[in-house]
Amino acid sequence: MVSLLLILLMSLFFTGFIIRTKSILSGRKGPGIFQPMRDIFRLWKKGSVYSTTTSFIFQIAPSAYFASVLMAVLMVPHGRNPGFISFDGDFIMFAYILAFGKFLMIVSALDTGSSFEGMGASREALFSMLVEPAFFILLGSFALFTGQTSFHDIFSTLHYGSQVSYLLGALASFVLVLIAMIENSRMPLDDPKTHLELTMIHEVMILDNSGFDLGTILYTTNLKFAMYGAIISNFFIGVLPYEISIPMFFIIQLGFAIAVGVIESFMARFRMGHNPQFVFILTSVSLLIFFGVLLVLGKFA
């Protein structure tokens, strides 16, 4: 319950923070932090243009995408407070429910019969396939580390005993930040500000969406960002009382948003052909975490 409210609140101005960071770093005046949300509200009020090629899939996909992310948000805990849904192995369902939304979005891009959108869909499918192992190895390592198999149990029993485990936490947040960047199609992989369709991934997939549906998709992206931020914050909150954990949640989310802004200001997008290699790095870092866990648990004896 707590985490749902916090994530919903955070999703309202998360992208705003990123844009603000970027504008400050590039010396522009820039829009306020609520501007992205205002844009979304304006889109929600607009009418739509539908391609004559599309079928009902195109119309249901954005809402189903939103529903899938919302469902995933319900599973994210906040410190000592479990998510709405919490059971053994919930992070498996978390990943697969997100896959449901992704499946429909990919299919809806193909529904337009456009050459550009198919390209975006193909890339999205490929990269989300490549990034999935990193997430699972990461969660698997922490499951091994704590002996628990649900989000809430893993995070609430996570104790950083030695230096190695601090390193694990740092590496985990690195992996999670980059997973979030990839899942939301941000900088090192995909440039949301690019104007050339051939170099886009997520943006090109939603070229034909307009009005309410486009607003829903954009809001879902914000929500997804806040959700990953919440997961990252859980690595540090532990079982702290609310008066400490809630401010910490916001600080970590803010730090995450600023980090995204900084990365986007100082990095160029990778060449599309090099992206898979980059994503594989994440998997190998996750494997590093896994071996770190084995080391901490003394399994190498």
């Binding site: 919302l70 193909l110 550009f116 499918a125 190895i137 034909d208």
Partner: protein
């Protein structure tokens, strides 16, 4: 009424059916076939349900002088598979009766089709019933041959015949291995019964029996590198047959493996690890090949290989769990495998039926020639979408339930195992399973998107229209069954659990406490799926309320300013998976293009095509087969086409047997 009586009744129904199908007019044949399948279903379902609820149903069937007592045993494991066989066979008959209408001009082909179908159904049921090795092999052979006749339905087509021969040869390889395994078993224990395996102690022979039987069953199931018959046989067979074959017949390979590991009494960990490794590789190999195929039935065949891999992962985890003394892990692994068997039989036959409807309307299996079919065949498209999502394992569909159980088993093992090699193996398995999930997302978004969405890519011979009701009815039935598994998984899980506890003697009394959280988390998967569906419907409702009064404009797809879009410029299946294929370049793309010759004055037309080859088939199976035929060529003089010499061979054999018996060499 005992099981033996039921057996006799089934045989009687079969004989009546065989005669009846030959006598009745062609119009009524599908109906009669349906009735016979239903009758045999009823006859086999009664003892199966009894076996699941009360206990194993035993019977003895005596054929004097020939083989003596044949033990019939329907335990809960057989019952589980018999019920799956029955359901899929019924949907197959229903679908087939509609599907074959387009072939009504091929009188000779249709003549015996249904005869083989009922034989096929009953032989599969019998395979699950016999405990005696010889009777089992006879039923097994009957099943292989009748399915062969079903595969080569369009025998005029050379390609089909070739696929059929390939299938026949590989199935007989399987029978040879099984026969050798049973003979070895008989030599060691003096009994042909499956149960005798349990008496074997750990020695070299017992390992060999396992290896032989496992390889024999693995050919049927389609584990790599024994999978090469699947991608040829499935596209060649008519769709209802490929649906039943992929849904059930490969599962009988799994049944066999289940049956032998059930009697395994030693070396659990070793066998578990080997099966686990083989299965992960099978799953990865199958789905990676499926992703790049453009023939949609071949794609489904490779996808079957992937799912066999997933089932195998469940079996491997189960064995490792027993080896480690971790009952929860064992139960999760085995029941995950059983549930995935059920789930796969449901969604794979659904997908094959959908593919059949598409093929019937468009006469092509190449997805690059299709597109935009959702407007012409909306119901088929919807069914195919449901099947695709279920097979991709996303909630709220049934594929997720079994994958979730298998994942849980893997994580349980990860926490339970002390040894580092097992821990690493399990983490790599999790990684493999995750990658398989991602790849099946690629595969099925591609297949569904290219076949059903966008614009038609080519002119079709005639305007496609929606499949007939009789072809859609079985698909509705399957979807209903799928949703029931997805929404009430604990019901199916409890029965799978029962099967596993009975088969592996895991006492449920002491373990009831430790299983409770497991059942709870599986029940919560069903509940969450339900909540998810409700949430989606609510959001659709809100969207509809907001959007319905807004004005919306229909316009062409945005072509980035280009106002004359070409249908050929749409993203195709090949281009969708191109970067995937490049990344996994072990699936080597073979490019053939006709070069423009220098002496030509003007460039003419030239073609360009990309094919992906099955590397195991190309570089492992084919060379092996070539070498074998080279050696076997020297024995060709035996098959010389003269009846006289064949009679002579027969005489020789009879004399040999006679002398052998007379001098007590054979007994």
């Amino acid at each position: 009424m005992g099981t033996t009586h039921l057996m006799v009744w089934m045989a009687l129904v079969l004989i009546v059916g065989l005669v009846g199908l030959i006598i009745v007019r062609e119009r009524y044949r599908p109906l009669l076939a349906l009735l016979i399948v239903l009758a045999n279903t009823a006859l086999s379902a009664i003892p199966s349900i009894l076996a699941l609820t009360t206990g194993p149903q035993l019977g003895v069937f005596n054929i004097p002088h020939l083989v003596g007592d044949i033990n019939i045993k329907i335990d809960s494991l057989s019952a589980w598979f018999i019920l799956i066989i029955n359901f899929t066979s019924i949907t197959g008959v229903l679908y087939g009766s509609g599907y074959l209408k387009t072939y009504s001009h091929l009188k000779t082909n249709l003549e015996l089709h249904w005869v083989f179908y009922i034989l096929f159904h009953l032989s599969m049921v019998w395979v699950c019933m016999f405990d005696n090795g010889i009777a089992f092999l006879i039923a097994w052979e009957l099943m292989s041959l009748s399915s062969l006749m079903l595969v080569i339905f369009e025998f005029q087509n050379k390609q089909t015949l070739k696929a059929g021969i390939n299938y026949m040869v590989q199935m007989h390889l399987s029978v040879v291995l099984l026969t050798l395994g049973f003979i070895l078993l008989y030599i060691n224990t003096g009994s042909f019964n499956f149960e005798a395996i349990a008496q074997m102690s750990s020695n070299k022979n017992s390992i060999w029996i396992f290896v032989l039987l496992f390889c024999g069953f693995a050919i049927k199931a389609g584990f790599i590198p024994f999978h090469t018959w699947l991608p040829h046989a499935h596209p060649a067979a008519p769709s209802h047959v490929s649906g039943v074959m992929s849904g059930v017949i490969v599962k009988l390979g799994i049944y066999g493996i289940f049956r032998i590991i059930m009697y395994l009494r030693h070396d659990w960990l070793l066998f578990g690890e080997v099966i686990l490794l083989l299965s992960v590789l099978t799953a990865l190999y199958g789905i990676a090949n499926a992703a790049v195929k453009y023939d949609f039935k071949q794609m489904l065949a490779y996808c079957t290989i992937e799912n066999i891999g997933i089932i195998g992962i469940g079996l491997g985890i189960g064995l490792m769990g027993i080896g480690n003394g971790d009952k929860t892990m064992a139960v999760l692994g085995f029941s995950g495998a059983l549930l995935h068997t059920l789930n796969h039989s449901l969604f794979k036959s659904l997908l094959f039926f959908g593919a059949g409807s598409v093929y019937q309307q468009t006469h092509t299996r190449n997805i690059e020639r299709l597109g935009g079919l959702i407007k012409k065949m909306p119901v088929t498209a919807m069914m195919f979408l449901i099947g695709s999502m279920a097979i991709g394992g996303v909630p709220p569909f049934n594929g997720f339930v079994s994958e979730f159980i298998i994942y849980n088993g893997l994580f349980k093992g990860l926490l339970g195992f002390q040894g580092i090699s097992q821990t690493i193996l399990l983490v790599l398995t999790i990684t493999g399973l995750v990658i398989v999930g991602g790849m099946s997302l690629i595969t099925f978004t591609k297949t569904f998107g290219v076949i059903f969405l966008g614009n038609p890519r080519q002119e079709l011979p005639h305007e496609p229209k929606e499949a007939s009701f009789i072809m859609l009815l079985p698909q509705y039935l399957i979807v209903a069954a799928m949703l029931s598994v997805a929404l009430v998984p604990q019901f199916f899980f409890s029965y799978a659990n029962k099967v596993v506890s009975a088969a592996f003697a895991i006492e449920s009394a002491g373990s009831a406490v430790s299983f409770a959280p497991m059942v709870q988390s599986i029940a919560s998967v069903g509940k969450i799926s339900m909540v998810f569906i409700v949430l989606m419907i609510t959001i659709f409702g809100i969207r509809w309320l907001i959007v319905r009064k807004r004005h919306s404009v229909a316009y062409e797809t945005w072509g980035c300013g280009y106002a004359a879009p070409v249908k050929k410029a749409q993203y195709s299946g090949q281009s969708f998976t191109r970067s995937f294929g490049l990344l996994f370049s072990f699936l080597k793309g073979k490019r053939t293009s006709e070069r423009i010759q220098k002496e030509k004055l003007y460039p003419g037309q030239y073609s360009y095509s990309t094919h992906y080859i099955d590397i195991l088939e190309e570089y492992f199976v084919a060379p092996l087969a070539k070498r074998l035929t080279f050696t076997l060529n020297y024995f060709q003089f035996i098959q010389n086409g003269q009846i006289q010499s064949y009679v002579l061979y027969g005489l020789f054999f009879i004399i040999l047997v006679f002398l052998g018996t007379a001098f007590n060499l054979i007994y």
